[in-house]
């Protein structure tokens, strides 16, 4: 809470509440056993901004996202969400996670629940909505992600693209202030990637603050305000979308970019 009492790195002036980024990651460290996975990562996401995080496999992108909503404890550094230091605040983890939606590579829809029920579960159990209200919310969101006709379908009856759109709707049902996407389209067949990215881009355009791990450069060009390049546990480049696609990025980022654009 009291970020003023914290010793911030000298390069960083303590942000006042009003203009503080929605999410501020400051020098996060994380090790699994002997291997250091995150080595002092810092990253800001401002309200309404969409930040795309790219980097080679194993560079620690998923780990960074998981630290943000406390699915993984950070070893060092601080995470501020809405100006409050949430680092290690596991007592309030459930409350914090309500405000942060997460979308996974493998969708992770609850297999025993229909599309609508997947969306209704958390609003009912966490926010205490009535079944009828939760159902209304679910139908609205399914319309938003353009699969209103699949409300009663079960996950195994949906295509990958449809499942991922339901998963996005499920996260949105909690009215999150921030959305985290971890390679949301990398498990999808090429013809389904588009429908998911379209939904995400629409959300970004509507002002949903998003942190997106993806290698879909088309999406980044379309929706990103800022692009962050990560390598070997470090953030090695943070650039505005214009600068990034204008070619003014450092050499390592450019090399990676050339690789994924083959």
């Amino acid at each position: 809470m009291n970020d003023t009492t914290r010793a911030d790195p000298p390069t960083r002036r303590p942000a006042t509440r009003a203009d503080a980024p929605l999410l501020e990651i400051v020098g996060i460290d994380k090790s699994f056993g002997q291997s250091r996975i995150l080595k002092g990562c810092s990253l800001d996401v401002r309200r309404g901004e969409t930040v795309v995080l790219i980097g080679p496999s194993g560079s620690g992108k998923s780990t960074l996202l998981r630290c943000v909503n406390l699915l993984e404890p950070a070893d060092g550094g601080d995470i501020f969400f809405e100006g409050a230091n949430i680092t290690g605040d596991f007592a309030n983890a459930a409350r914090i996670r309500r405000e942060i939606g997460m979308v996974f590579q493998n969708f992770e829809l609850f297999q025993h629940l229909s599309a609508a029920q997947n969306i209704m579960l958390a609003p009912m159990k966490v926010l205490g909505l009535s079944r009828a209200d939760a159902h209304d919310v679910a139908l609205d969101l399914l319309r938003k992600v353009r699969i209103s006709d699949k409300a009663d379908a079960f996950p195994d009856e949906l295509s990958g693209g449809q499942q991922q759109r339901v998963a996005i709707a499920r996260a949105l049902a909690m009215k999150p202030k921030l959305m985290l996407y971890d390679e949301p389209t990398s498990a999808l067949d090429p013809e389904m990637i588009r429908e998911v990215l379209d939904v995400m881009a629409d959300l970004s355009a509507e002002g949903m603050t998003s942190l997106v791990v993806t290698h879909e450069m088309g999406f980044a060009r379309r929706a990103a305000d800022k692009i962050v390049f990560m390598e070997d546990g470090r953030i090695v480049e943070t650039a505005s979308s214009e600068a990034f696609f204008g070619g003014s990025v450092n050499e390592r980022a450019q090399r990676f970019l050339d690789q994924i654009l083959h």
Partner: protein
């Protein structure tokens, strides 16, 4: 020649009826405590505590590594010499329940493990608490997975319960055997007992099929009705897998 009249007389006679009731009672009580023991063991295995894990390992090793008959006789005959005096019925239920617990633990644990970790993560990420994730996400999915093998265990228990006749519990098989040796009508007495067993197992199978149906999330949309024979065949198929 088999006298059907005599079979019928045996079936409706009080000793056979009481024997069947006792068999059902032993089965249901042992199952109840067996599932409870299995659940405790399975949850102990999920914890990271070494002593608890070692305890469960030894428990499962002992009860799966020796015959049930041995366990029944052991509890009935050995415990009294250490001052623990139990009725035959109680000894029977304790032995069967402890034995069942070892198998149930394995079944329950495999069910819990079959629910992928990502499902829990997705629940947590939505802001559900750990116990809500367990209750609304993990357990319902695990239940569907463990039901068929658990049903097989239950039918198995009905038959295993006949073993407690060795410690003179007046259950169905003992009654049949006693009646037969008194009257020398083995065929009729055993047929009467067999009919009871078949009726009981059929009821269990029907219950299992009903439970499986009620746990199937898509049941409401699957209006087609399976003929009874098909369902029983399905049940026997799943029984063969074990």
């Amino acid at each position: 020649m088999m006298s059907l009249d005599l079979v019928f007389d045996y079936i409706v006679s009080p000793p056979f009826f009481h024997g069947a009731v006792l068999t059902l009672l032993i089965t249901v009580t042992s199952l109840f405590f067996g599932v409870l023991a299995g659940l405790v063991i399975a949850l102990m295995q999920e914890t990271r505590s070494r002593p608890l894990q070692l305890f469960t390992l030894i428990y499962i090793w002992l009860f799966r590594g020796t015959p049930v008959l041995f366990q029944i006789i052991f509890i009935y005959n050995v415990l009294p010499s250490y001052g623990i005096r139990l009725s035959a019925f109680l000894s029977a239920v304790i032995a069967l329940a402890l034995n069942e617990g070892a198998y149930m633990a394995e079944i329950l644990r495999s069910g819990l493990n079959a629910v992928k970790k990502g499902q829990r993560t997705a629940g947590l990420a939505l802001g559900l608490t750990t116990s809500q994730v367990m209750r609304f996400i993990v357990l319902p999915q695990a239940a569907r997975i463990v039901l068929p093998p658990m049903g097989n265990q239950m039918i198995g228990m009905l038959k295993t319960s006949a073993l407690v006749s060795v410690i003179a519990v007046e259950e169905l098989l003992l009654v049949a055997n006693q009646t037969a040796s008194a009257s020398f009508r083995y065929l009729e007495a055993l047929t009467a007992a067999g009919v009871y067993y078949l009726v009981l197992t059929t009821i269990f199978m029907a219950l299992q099929a009903m439970l499986e149906r009620s746990l199937d999330p898509k049941k409401r949309r699957r209006r087609e009705k399976r003929p009874l024979l098909d369902r029983l065949l399905l049940a026997t198929e799943s029984a063969d897998v074990r």
